[in-house]
């Protein structure tokens, strides 16, 4: 089968390695990735800032880009998929062509872990990662998309991986997109709590499914000089694979 | 001003909802089904357990034991003054007489509030009892005044098993036509100071519930 890649602006700028590994992993699982090069940003930052009219323009572009084919869309970011699934349809009046396209794309756009588990029926992808790992549940993935078990199932199937519980795993890390720069001190306090919990867990790595959370948490761990790695789920699942 | 405001506000509400005067009412969505109950013995035990969990005291009692239990209560809580509901059940149990015998001054229920607030013990019946939450429901009228269960530091409620109700649905079905109902679940409490649970803030510090083992 084939799938379109929705790489997201943050992952493109900051985590190209994750995107490369996503491609290699999908190919290994029998999915031929297609990359619509016209894509830019889904518009979430503008939408969350209240600039819905501006976000609508970006949504139109996004829908143009991904409706060129009927293929499902896969993305390594829960919040971007949540944008497409929940907010895109509401940006267009019912009955308009844009609205139909939004509804259509909403029905076939998936976050990576839910794509693996539900669309591909894959849980054990043959990954080997013999380390102590803990999992942070990104808010939009968890509460927006209802993806709760899938990343855990995938992690538990990784050979050698020891999954440790994280206190406050479902509590926001303080990223919140524009929130982190609008109210940096509150974001700082929330990040501090998250970092403390990660350090208390005893894990060598914390895994999440959203570039925003990862930027925030990785930066927070870096600032306290912690050796704990912040990794995307895809990096763990692709471990052992060559990406060239 | 208020009459004019009434029209202004109701018009504003109707306008906001795009409704017109005399528009019909949609059907109110359903509440959940009432609770199914177990046997009376189980319900009574549940009631007693739940009251204890709330730091209240509850026990089954037979009429012949009341006298001694009352003496015990008076002694334990050093009761000097008491006030009772004017109720046939409480009279049949001879409570006022027994209290007097114990040296407790029995204050009339119609006394002024200052006097009532000096009572150590208030004795009432319970019109309803909800086992799930250890709750007593008390209606109110001239013979069953409100302050008896509120002002004294010790509240004794004597109830018959017939007061049991399955849940709020049942209580409400009966109580909705009355002018006053108080649901009491344990002693007065607060955690306002550093989340430390403290009993006896404004209402009674101790609540005792005696469930008569007969419905006589």
């Amino acid at each position: 089968m084939k799938a379109q890649l929705f790489i997201t602006c943050l992952a493109e700028q900051f985590f190209p390695g994750v995107l490369e590994k996503m491609v290699v992993l999908l190919e290994k699982l029998g999915v031929e990735p297609v990359f619509p090069a016209e894509q830019t940003c889904c518009g979430q930052p503008l939408f969350n800032s209240g600039f819905q009219e501006q976000a609508r323009q970006l949504a139109i572009k996004w829908l143009d880009t991904f409706s060129q084919s009927d293929l499902p869309v896969v993305s390594p970011s829960g919040s971007c998929v949540d944008m497409v699934r929940h907010h895109y349809p509401a940006l267009f009046p019912p009955g308009t062509p844009e609205h139909s396209r939004a509804m259509d794309l909403a029905s076939r756009t998936f976050e990576f872990s839910e794509f693996l588990v539900h669309q591909l029926g894959q849980i054990d992808v043959g990954a080997v990662f013999p380390h102590r790992v803990t999992y942070h549940a990104s808010c939009h993935l968890l509460r927006g998309l209802g993806v709760r078990q899938e990343p855990l199932q995938l992690l538990q199937a990784v050979h050698g991986l020891e999954l440790l519980p994280l206190e406050g795993a479902e509590t926001c890390c303080g990223f919140g997109g524009v929130f982190s720069v609008v109210y940096p001190e509150v974001s700082r306090a929330m990040l501090q709590d998250k970092v403390n919990h990660i350090l208390d867990s005893g894990a060598e790595a914390v895994v999440a499914c959203d570039a925003g959370c990862l930027m925030n948490i990785a930066g927070g761990l870096r600032r306290v000089g912690s050796p704990v790695r912040a990794m995307h789920l895809i990096e763990v699942l692709a471990s052992g694979l060559n990406s060239d | 001003m208020s009459e004019q405001n009434r029209s202004v506000i109701l018009d504003a509400v109707r306008g906001a909802l795009q409704r017109k005067l005399g528009d019909s009412l949609a059907v109110r969505p359903p509440a959940l089904s009432p609770r199914q109950v177990a046997s009376q013995a189980e319900e009574l035990q549940l009631l007693i357990d739940e009251i204890q969990k709330l730091s209240g005291h509850a026990q089954m009692i037979s009429p012949s034991q009341v006298s001694m239990a009352l003496a015990e209560l008076v002694r334990t809580y050093q009761v000097k003054q008491a006030v009772l509901w004017d109720a046939p059940l409480l009279q049949r149990l001879g409570l006022a007489t027994r209290l007097t015998d114990l040296g407790v001054r029995v204050i009339p229920a119609h006394s002024d509030k200052q006097t009532l607030s000096e009572c150590d013990l208030g004795i009432t019946e319970a019109d309803f009892a909800l086992p799930e939450t250890g709750t007593l429901g008390l209606l109110s009228n001239a013979e069953h005044p409100r302050l008896v269960s509120l002002l004294p530091r010790l509240h004794l409620a004597i109830m018959r098993p017939a007061a049991l109700r399955a849940d709020l649905h049942q209580v409400f079905a009966e109580a909705r036509t009355h002018a006053y109902l108080i649901l009491i679940s344990g002693p007065s409490r607060t955690s306002d100071i550093e989340m430390t649970p403290t009993l006896g803030v404004h209402g009674p510090r101790d609540v005792h519930v005696w469930v008569l083992d007969t419905d006589q």
Partner: protein
């Protein structure tokens, strides 16, 4: 420090609520106290929910009942009015805070009131009633222990259910010592005993009892008050006149509705299956020899609620039953406390209620006081879609809508449009991706960016930014060329 902000919270606020400015200097005691208290509430709530498999069904029923009531509010308000009057009570209608205070002041004048006792009521905080009564020389005593304490301290509540939760017992002992001229002990049990004695005298001496309402039952004109301490009963039984002030959104259709809502409220807010006291009051006492007030007055308050009702995107705000659960779960609230929200209602519900009542000119920072994590939506017992409403209000602030013009200045709106152009123009976006790895060099250290210039300094002052490295497209092209190159 918070005093002026809170005194002004009692009156109409002329200046904007500065959530940001406050949040930059939160006294350390507040987050630690709040995290402890809210943590306990949530543990207790979880224990209650464990015993209640029908919790989700109850939430759905509660939400449906509340929404139905709002959608037929005119009918229910008229019914309530009719029933309260039939029960011997009086109903007063207040368009706004000034009306409501005037009504209560007039009642106080008629009855030559000197001393009033109050049950905790958000509606009375909203209208600044205490201040209005005190200005004409009436003593107003808050009787909920937490409210009493903060009244003595001259500050406002930091949490809608547990107003003094941020204070240490030593601080409380200090204020009791000052107030009563004693050496107050720091033990909570003893402090409570002092308050009991003092407040009992107040209850007995009061001419007027003031309360809010947890619910107003239209079917019978019944006022429902939920407390744990007993002060609700005291205030509504001892004084000869009882005034209840409540928003028009407090109406419920009938007693049957209460069987749902009263299962939701105490569990959600305080983790109790039921509160210690739930009073159901229908009109004044019926006969002279009964206990209770001889006069019962209900003041129905609009104060902007009918305007919220008009906006389908904000209407569900009014479903709120004021349980406090959203505060308890909110990581933003737990780290800043109630004062940051600048008005009587704080936390996620405050962030949506306040801007809709006061307007986004004054309260435009509040819809942004959230990371949109959605935890509040999950715990709300009546399913207020708080996150959706926050986004709805952010749009009002940024772009304006049918209800209010935008707050955001034109330059920022222009910047947003430019930003969208850049993000939405493929070649420009890709060019940016290629340039940034070069432009970032002055701030780059070992793969991270430190101390970036504004506006990105708002990020780097908290933690470094990973380096810009948009090389996926090149990698894809190379890989694709290689594989197409291999095709026969």
């Amino acid at each position: 420090m918070q005093k002026s902000q809170l005194q002004s919270s009692e009156k109409k606020i002329p200046h904007p609520i500065e959530f940001g400015a406050y949040s930059e200097h939160v006294p350390g005691q507040i987050p630690s106290a709040l995290k402890y208290a809210t943590g306990r509430f949530m543990e207790q709530r979880a224990a209650c929910l464990d015993e209640l498999p029908e919790w989700e069904a109850l939430r759905q029923a509660g939400s449906a009942i509340r929404l139905h009531t709002l959608e037929n509010l005119d009918f229910y308000l008229e019914k309530l009015d009719q029933q309260v009057i039939a029960a011997g009570g009086q109903v007063h209608w207040a368009k706004d805070a000034a009306d409501a205070c005037e009504i209560v002041l007039e009642l106080a004048r008629q009855h030559a009131v000197k001393r009033a006792v109050k049950v905790k009521s958000m509606a009375t905080e909203e209208i600044g009633l205490n201040h209005a009564l005190q200005e004409v020389g009436i003593e107003v005593v808050e009787t909920d222990l937490g409210e009493y304490i903060i009244q003595l301290m001259g500050t406002g509540p930091s949490h809608i259910v547990a107003p003094a939760v941020h204070l240490k017992k030593e601080q409380i002992a200090e204020v009791f010592s000052q107030e009563f001229g004693i050496e107050a002990p720091t033990d909570p049990v003893e402090l409570t005993a002092i308050a009991r004695r003092v407040l009992r005298e107040k209850f007995l001496a009061a001419d007027l009892g003031i309360s809010g309402a947890n619910f107003l039952v239209a079917e019978t004109g019944t006022l429902v008050i939920v407390t744990n301490e007993g002060n609700g009963r005291m205030c509504t039984t001892l004084p000869d006149v009882h005034v209840a002030v409540a928003g028009i959104d407090k109406v419920v259709p009938d007693w049957e509705s209460l069987s749902v809502l009263l299962k939701l409220l105490p569990r959600s807010g305080a983790g109790q299956k039921i509160s210690v006291y739930t009073s159901f009051i229908t009109g004044p006492r019926r006969a002279k020899d009964e206990h209770g007030p001889s006069e019962f007055h209900l003041v129905l308050l609009d104060n902007g609620r009918s305007r919220i009702l008009q906006d389908p995107g904000g209407r569900e705000t009014l479903k709120c039953i004021r349980c406090g659960s959203c505060l308890n779960i909110c990581p933003v609230y737990r780290n800043v406390g109630g004062y940051a929200y600048g008005w009587c209602i704080s936390g996620p519900i405050g962030a949506i209620f306040t801007p809709q009542i006061l307007g986004v000119q004054q309260a435009g920072e509040l819809p942004f006081a959230s990371s949109l994590c959605g935890a509040c939506d999950e715990v709300c017992p009546v399913r207020v879609p708080i996150t959706d409403i926050l986004l709805h209000l952010r749009r009002r602030v940024a772009e304006g809508d049918a209800y209010e013009p935008a707050v955001v200045a034109t330059p920022l709106r222009a910047a947003a449009a430019l930003g969208r152009q850049a993000l939405g123009t493929g070649w420009l976006y890709r060019l940016g991706g290629r340039l940034l790895p070069w432009l970032q060099i002055p701030w780059l250290r070992a793969g991270w960016l430190y101390k970036l210039p504004p506006p990105l300094n708002r990020w780097t002052k908290v933690r470094p930014l990973p380096a810009f490295r948009a090389h996926f497209r090149n990698w894809w092209k190379r890989r694709h060329q290689v594989s197409t190159g291999d095709q026969p």
